[in-house]
């Protein structure tokens, strides 16, 4: 071992000592406090413990969760920066005093977005109601698309069993041959009734683009920020799971030409 290695190992030892000393002063409960992972009892106990010293009070203030309002400010700051407006938030907040009403309104919207799904009531069951496409001569199959050809109307309604309070949104995926991929739906083709009913409406070959062939269309409806992406949905489906507390996945087969 050369001198450099000896110094690196000594530094590693110091790093280890510092880490252990740090954990002795600020144990893992503080990280869990920031993450919002403490139970009410654990947090109350930590707070009571912290109140006994100046150092503890400072730690409580430092680790107490920054919360959705802070996160909304960060998102706004990143948007501003992306748009070429680089004022730091604190200065911006002071300078834009006259705009505070507007900022507060925006923050209220963002707070709603950032509310955890758990703060909203559970979703009722949903059903898919399809219509459109060219029906075969044997007559219309119940609850199914006809063959979707260019120019066909495409309507897909996600219908809750009871009215839904709070925001819901949906993601769509196409599956074939074991491959699941996102199906992008233009915003102009998506409609929402406000009581939980969501609808996709458009013309095949226009807003509705699906490559020819037989497909399974998955519609995943749920609370904002709770919807799985393709990889997560694949994993859920592989386990036979089509719903979770804040979302549910429904499928329908279709054929396009």
């Amino acid at each position: 071992m050369n001198d450099d290695d000896r110094w690196l190992r000594e530094l590693a030892r110091v790093a280890n000592d510092e880490q252990q000393a740090g954990e002795a002063r600020l144990d893992g409960r503080w990280d869990r406090l920031s993450a919002g992972d403490l139970s009410a009892e654990e947090e109350a106990a930590l707070r009571a413990e912290a109140a006994t010293s100046e150092e503890g009070r400072a730690a409580y203030e430092a680790f107490r969760p920054l919360g959705p309002e802070f996160q909304a400010r960060v998102v706004q700051a990143l948007r501003d920066r992306s748009a070429g407006r680089v004022l730091p938030f604190r200065r911006r907040a002071r300078q834009l005093g006259g705009w505070l009403v507007g900022v507060a309104a925006a923050a209220a919207v963002l707070v709603l977005v950032f509310r955890g799904p758990g703060a909203l009531p559970p979703l009722p069951g949903y059903t898919l109601v399809p219509s459109g496409g060219v029906q075969s001569l044997r007559g219309e199959r119940p609850n199914a698309f006809g063959t979707l050809v260019p120019g066909s109307t495409f309507d897909l309604v996600l219908q809750p069993e009871t009215a839904v309070s709070g925001p819901v949104e949906a993601r769509y995926f196409l599956e074939r041959g074991g491959e699941l991929r996102p199906w992008p739906v233009p915003k102009g083709a998506m409609q929402s009734s406000g009581d939980g009913v969501l609808k996709v409406h458009g013309m095949v070959g226009g807003a509705i683009v699906i490559p020819p062939g037989d497909w399974t269309l998955w519609a995943v409806v749920g609370r904002p920020r709770s919807l799985p992406d393709a990889a997560a949905l694949r994993a859920h489906l592989a386990r036979g799971q089509t719903r979770a507390p804040d979302w549910q996945a429904l499928k329908i087969d279709l054929k396009t030409e």
């Binding site: 450099d4 530094l11 430092a62």
Partner: protein
């Protein structure tokens, strides 16, 4: 959350997807806050120790986000999950590095610095001096460690931990990082050069 999910969220957030951006900020805030808070409470001294710690945590946490997303997300894009660091660990190491630098230098504006996490540590190496002559006290070792933390990229710090803290052999490091044996060897050499340079700089500062 699975690694592929996080990778997808990062990609979408950097591409301008607002839902993904909000989700990413929500996921990263606790780890950044906790690392900032820990560093502030354990390291801050002098005038910094008298400031409102809550405000300091908020300011530094926001600065970390601005750093991560600067220049089209250059820092975030440098996360390579196959190297063995989770996104949260990666961001945690970026935060530690940046906080250490801010606390040591007092420089706060992330736009004035190059936010990249260059792994090129091949700077000119000063003439060696006897290390025993340079550093005697534990406080100086802590200072040296802090400088090392500032200089190393998250991957460099990860390799430092694997090679010198956990003392894994080359094959184990290769397995954990997906780096080639040559790349691990090159990293060991970089770390040696870096500690040599920091020792020399510490000597000059005395």
């Amino acid at each position: 959350m699975e690694r592929s999910d996080l990778h997808d969220i990062v990609e979408r957030a950097l591409a301008g997807d607002e839902t993904a951006l909000s989700r990413l900020v929500a996921v990263l805030t606790p780890v950044i806050q906790a690392r900032v808070a820990r560093s502030l409470l354990l390291w801050r001294t002098g005038a910094a120790a008298g400031r409102d710690v809550r405000q300091e945590v908020e300011d530094l946490t926001q600065e970390m986000f601005l750093l991560l997303f600067a220049e089209g997300g250059k820092v975030l894009r440098s996360w390579q999950p196959e190297r063995g660091l989770t996104l949260l660990n990666f961001v945690g190491l970026v935060t530690e590095r940046r906080t250490a630098s801010i606390l040591r230098t007092g420089r706060r504006n992330p736009w004035q610095d190059d936010p990249t996490l260059s792994e090129d540590l091949d700077r000119a190496t000063p003439e060696e001096e006897g290390p025993e002559e340079i550093i005697a006290s534990r406080e100086q070792m802590k200072l040296l460690l802090r400088r090392l933390t500032e200089e190393l990229s998250p991957l460099g710090r990860h390799l430092f931990d694997l090679l010198f803290l956990r003392e894994l052999d080359q094959a184990e490091v290769v397995a954990q990082t997906s780096l080639s044996a040559d790349a691990v060897y090159a990293w060991r050499s970089r770390l040696r050069r870096l500690v040599r340079r920091l020792l020399a700089e510490t000597s000059e500062d005395r």
